[in-house]
């Protein structure tokens, strides 16, 4: 029998592609239940009525895939709540209609390109997370150029960076360079290093500041307890 714990674990693998965080830690899972017979039902909520429907669709579709893949789950319902396009998205995902089929006439393509663009941003942001402590300790940023993944101490941030790189088909093995171009996977050159690190930092700030606003809006909308001024940072 599938348990609620398993359901939550499955939902934990679903990320907001824009914020690069699990929907569970963002507070987007309003409820989730699974019956003895294996009927799973998950309610999702977002920070605003007008949150971008493309990202909303991806989260609902990914949640559907993650939950329905659980052994013992026979039926899956993912219900996005309080969103202007909730009916279209819920119905489209349940019918396996794809994004273009869900928004017939309003969208021409699927969302792979969008997802990939945001994964590349996540790689850049993750680069800053991993490099910042190194930069604080290193006298010369150029020393980073010679490092491979294996040279770094293990950390959750490093795992995450490697996972995002692997998802994009970029070098992610132990012998891969720490610094790569998120588009091509080529090692970063000495000339490109300062701009690369600066871009990585700006991208990280952008994603994290956005996450801060989204959390604040969700809190306003659902009158949630404020966990702390700078949670999630």
């Amino acid at each position: 029998m599938t348990t609620q714990h398993q359901l939550l674990c499955a939902l934990q693998t679903v990320r907001d592609p824009e914020l690069d965080e699990p929907i569970t830690s963002l507070g987007f899972v309003a409820s989730c239940t699974v019956s003895a017979g294996g009927d799973a039902e998950v309610a999702l909520r977002l920070p605003t009525y007008f949150c971008a429907p493309n990202f909303a669709y991806l989260m609902v579709a990914d949640a559907y895939d993650a939950v329905s893949a659980l052994p013992g789950v026979h039926s899956t319902r993912i219900l996005l709540e309080d969103h202007f396009a909730a009916d279209a998205i819920n119905g489209g995902v349940a019918a396996h209609a794809g994004f273009a089929g869900t928004f017939d006439g309003e969208a021409v393509g699927e969302l792979h390109e969008l997802r990939t663009a945001f994964l590349r941003k996540a790689v850049l942001a993750g680069t800053d997370q991993v490099c910042r402590p190194l930069l604080a300790a290193a006298a010369d940023p150029a020393t980073l150029l010679a490092l491979t993944i294996a040279d770094l101490p293990p950390s959750a941030e490093l795992d995450r960076l490697r996972q995002r790189r692997a998802e994009l088909g970029l070098p992610a093995g132990q012998d891969a360079p720490l610094l790569i171009d998120p588009q091509t996977g080529a090692p970063v050159s000495a000339d490109a290093l300062p701009l690369h690190l600066r871009r990585a930092r700006t991208t990280r700030i952008s994603i994290e500041a956005n996450g801060g606003i989204c959390r604040g809006m969700l809190r306003q909308r659902y009158h949630l307890q404020a966990p702390g001024e700078e949670d999630g940072s």
């Binding site: 007008f50 971008a52 202007f84 928004f103 969008l114 952008s206 500041a209 606003i213 809006m217």
Partner: protein, 338 residues
């Protein structure tokens, strides 16, 4: 004007609205969008200090007296730019049209500059209206929503050939300040609605125009920064950065300001309260008193000097809009040489 620590600031609020989003203005059949829109705005207000929050019914439709008080009596604002937002698919008389803004502004000479708008999908009729609005209201700027609905079409780009006709017209008419909404939005559905690459191209092709990217492309600050740093005529509109982060997320506020100061620079950043989402008073007072934190985390960001604050509060916008600034509020040296 605002005085803090013996320094005098001339304040141009680059982003204000005078809207009617009450139920009497909702289009039948589109009520859920009209309601959802204003409630979404109202939640943004919640990111400001609690004592500045309004009840929803006041927020839907505030009075002219409220606005005059909040901007000019309490809010330290000298001149306010009224930005228009039409949303005629959802609001019968529009959300806040050029006409609504202008009829109010006419009763308060010298306080407002009325910006107009255009939509390339309106074609020749739209060009006529633009010319008429400029002749009647003297608009030197316009506000563009590239993601706005229009007769079944859910968005456009500044690089569309139809848009270039309007940009040509703006150049001829002296509408030299193009405010582009690149911030929280919905459409187009299948692309990234915050994409700023169209501004990049238009700014290169129309060097005589200034492009003010409102809300700095939030949540894609990085894309905006990388673009703005290469285009001398692209500016950062700080509405939402201040209102949405300064109180609710002070550390992120400092980091975002640091990024903007680094990439865009204090000569190209413009204050805007986004009234009535947030009142200007706490934002003016907060920014005047604000300093980049002194800890290691912020050590490689540029500092914001008093002169920089003066530019952001009003001198930059005054330059773009040819607003006469009294001598006591100017910098000792010309802004361009600073």
């Amino acid at each position: 004007m605002y005085e803090h620590d013996g320094e005098k600031y001339f304040v141009v609020d680059g982003h204000t609205h005078y809207w009617n989003a009450a139920p009497d203005n909702w289009v039948p059949g589109a009520e859920q969008f009209a309601k959802g829109w204003i409630e979404c705005f109202h939640a943004y207000m919640g990111l400001g200090p609690p004592e500045t929050h309004w009840p929803l019914d006041k927020f839907q439709k505030y009075s002219e007296d409220d606005l005059m008080h909040d901007l000019f009596d309490a809010g330290h604002v000298d001149v306010a730019l009224l930005q228009s937002t039409y949303l005629l698919e959802w609001y019968k008389e529009g959300f806040n049209t050029t006409q609504r803004n202008a009829s109010m502004a006419e009763r308060h000479p010298g306080k407002f500059l009325v910006n107009t708008r255009w939509d390339p999908r309106d074609g020749d009729e739209g060009l006529k209206t633009l010319k008429a609005n400029v002749a009647r209201y003297g608009s030197k700027g316009c506000k563009l929503y590239t993601a706005e609905w229009n007769a079944g079409s859910r968005g456009w780009k500044l690089t569309d050939p139809a848009a270039y006709r309007f940009l040509d017209a703006c150049q001829e008419l002296g509408v030299k300040n193009i405010h582009v909404h690149k911030g929280p939005t919905i459409w187009p559905l299948d692309k990234d609605a915050f994409d700023v690459s169209d501004v990049d191209h238009a700014a290169t092709d129309f060097p005589g125009l200034n492009f003010i990217v409102e809300h700095v492309g939030l949540p894609r600050i990085e894309d905006f920064c990388f673009m703005a740093t290469q285009e001398p005529n692209v500016y950062a509109g700080l509405a939402v950065v201040l209102g949405g982060l300064m109180h609710a997320r002070p550390r992120f506020f400092a980091k975002v300001m640091g990024e903007l100061l680094f990439w865009v620079g204090e000569d190209k950043m413009l204050f805007g309260s986004d009234y009535a989402i947030w009142e200007p008073q706490w934002q003016v007072e907060g920014l005047a008193a604000w300093q980049m934190p002194d800890t290691e985390e912020f050590s490689d960001y540029p500092r914001l000097s008093t002169a920089g604050k003066k530019k952001i509060f009003g001198l930059n916008a005054a330059r773009l809009y040819d607003i006469e600034v009294p001598a006591e509020y100017r910098l000792a040296e010309p802004v361009a040489g600073a």
